[in-house]
């Protein structure tokens, strides 16, 4: 029984970390740009496909070096998706900076469709699910229970990424500028900060962090399909919103909460797998009814 509980706890942490990596992107982009980047899920799900493609190319070229090839493929995917995020901003989202929030939202939904269809068309047999390898197959004994190393790795990588992101926002010049633009775009301009560059940098960081989440997600699920990004994006978005948009800690908390109910329902209910989304989104509604601006969000006080 203990082994089972530990396994569920591990699943919860892995899933929570994956969702958090996606949610952080939403929160970061909303904090800086005040825009909901609804295609975020679709953009980041490109990463596992890039990994698969690069891996295939490299293995065909030199069948020996698999570990090196994997590392190279991962790096290429994260970089490519980061750039893809910047391109998405430059091509589409940039044009809706001054428009009402709903316009940008609908435009990014359409952008998500475009990205999804591009994956489906340009990846060979893109409509079918593609098997995705576990990054590490090994198991390790932990207190008398065997735990897949992948779970530990996923948690470690996620925590490291969150730490890096926090450190970047707090201690680097780039983080300082991002926070300045988020606080007040016009004043930041007066301080010789170019908002355009900061937006591009934010999109790169958010997309690259999300790419890591998407790769871990594909590896956890063992497969990836062109439309996995819809659900991953929706859950990441929910995590960011119930945590309180703009709050990075909130995004992590919200994601852990959603992953928690997801795993709990699957563990305790007979038909848990088919009801997991029902309970996850009922939780979302409940949280927002009780805390209308999220768990850690600043309450909206309007001054006249």
């Amino acid at each position: 029984m203990d082994a089972l509980v530990l396994q569920y706890v591990m699943n919860w942490l892995v899933l929570g970390c994956i969702y958090a990596l996606v949610a952080l992107g939403f929160s970061l982009l909303f904090g800086v740009l005040n825009v909901i980047h609804f295609s975020h899920g679709d953009v980041v799900i490109v990463a596992p496909f890039v990994v698969l493609a690069v891996l295939q190319g490299l293995v065909a070229a030199m069948p020996a070096a698999t570990a090196g090839a994997l590392a190279l493929a991962l790096a290429a995917a994260i970089l490519a998706v980061g750039i893809l995020g910047v391109i998405a901003d430059w091509l589409v989202i940039r044009r809706f900076r001054r428009a009402p929030a709903m316009m940008a939202l609908v435009a990014t939904v359409a952008l998500g469709t475009v990205v999804r269809e591009l994956i489906r068309m340009f990846y060979p047999q893109g409509s079918n699910p593609k098997p995705f390898p576990r990054l590490i197959e090994a198991q390790v004994a932990l207190g008398g229970v065997t735990v897949p190393v992948f779970s530990l790795l996923a948690i470690a990588v996620s925590v490291a990424m969150m730490g890096l992101l926090f450190a970047m926002m707090r201690f680097t010049p780039l983080g300082l500028r991002i926070r300045a633009v988020a606080e007040d775009r016009a004043t930041a301009r007066l301080m010789a900060i170019r908002p355009g560059r900061i937006f591009a940098a934010t999109f790169f960081v958010a997309s690259a962090v999300g790419a890591i989440g998407a790769i871990l997600f594909a590896s956890y699920a063992g497969a990836v399909r062109f439309d996995f990004g819809i659900q991953l994006g929706l859950i990441g978005f929910s995590g960011a919103v119930i945590g309180g948009l703009g709050s990075m800690l909130g995004a992590i908390l919200g994601s852990l909460l959603i992953a928690g109910i997801d795993v709990l329902v699957q563990a305790t209910m007979a038909e848990g797998a088919s009801y997991r989304l029902v309970f996850a989104f009922l939780l979302v509604i409940l949280v927002l009814v009780l805390k209308p601006s999220g768990l850690l969000g600043r309450p909206a006080i309007e001054k006249v």
């Binding site: 316009m103 475009v114 269809e117």
Partner: protein, 389 residues
Amino acid sequence: MAAAAPARAATLADRAIVAAGEAGGALILGLFLLAEDWRLITAVLVLCGAGFALLELRPAIEERIVAAFRRAPATALVLGAAIVLAYPFGMQGNSYALHLLVIALLYAVLALALNFQLGSANIPNFATGASYGIGAYASALLALEFGVSFWLTLPVAAAVATVFGFLLGFPSMRTRDTYLALVTIAFGIVVHQLLNNFDWTGGPNGLVGIPAPSILGHSFARPIVILGQRVPAQANFYYLALALVALAILAARRLHNSRVGLAWNALRGDELAARCQGIDVVWYKMLAFAVDAFLAAFAGSVYAAYVSYISPDNFTFLVSVTIMTMVIVGGMDNSFGVIVGAFLLTLLPEKLRIFSDYRLLFVGVVVILFLVLRPQGLFPQRPRSYGAS
């Protein structure tokens, strides 16, 4: 209707512009519906694009057309009614074209329903698809399990969906903007997932064999024959859906010119200011949700009876997003624009089938282009006119 009292009597030129506008619109739609050749379809699309580019460059032309319609409302109404009533007979018995028209009209109802919220009051709602589904399932279950006549299921389904609409409106008391959008997204997903999992809704297989309605002994599954002219059975539902659109437009006009419409517009302008003016913000928000659900459920009932087979996949989150796109592309708070948006986004993916694999990609690109090139929507909302034009 305030515009019914024209400041100046309609001239012959006004009437000519109205007639040309309506006939031209009907002709383009017919051409687009019946076209099989991809060159013709592309040509029609380019023509429409050029038309909107002209309007964007020369706003005076747009003003002139709008003024003509305002000054000659009777001509516009009579001619428009004649055209839409005769339309199925002009489809050369093409049942596929008629089918597209029925679906487009149902989406027009849904878009008009959402327009009460999104357009009038600027409340985001991603759950119109869910209300549509609740209406369809309620009507289908009543007909299948209890043998209730379609005409009785209509109001019952609408009542059921309205109750859910009020429930959904409940969180809107405190949550706003993005947070409220997420509540509606979550509601839509919960409804879809429950329809997918319950046994009594048929699970993922949905409900099959929903009976077609009949009126005065004429079954809607049979073709219409008038004066020796025969039109396929889809025409029955064309007229039913048309009646629903007419009802929705009438409701939209009446509400727009009532205290309710003014209150919604005030909410859109500034919620805090509206509250200070003594507008019961919570009540009007919940009312917007209820009106949306009510109309969407009507569309759902008609859809269920029309295709006689419904499954949860007809009512996903993406359906709600499509309806939202129709409202925004067409023009918020402008009934005509919203209907055009619904037709465009229903017919475009179908007609782009010739591009087979690329069609969703094209739709996405076209939507983005429309939003970038004409950001207020195809037909932007117009200021209220109180008699003076």
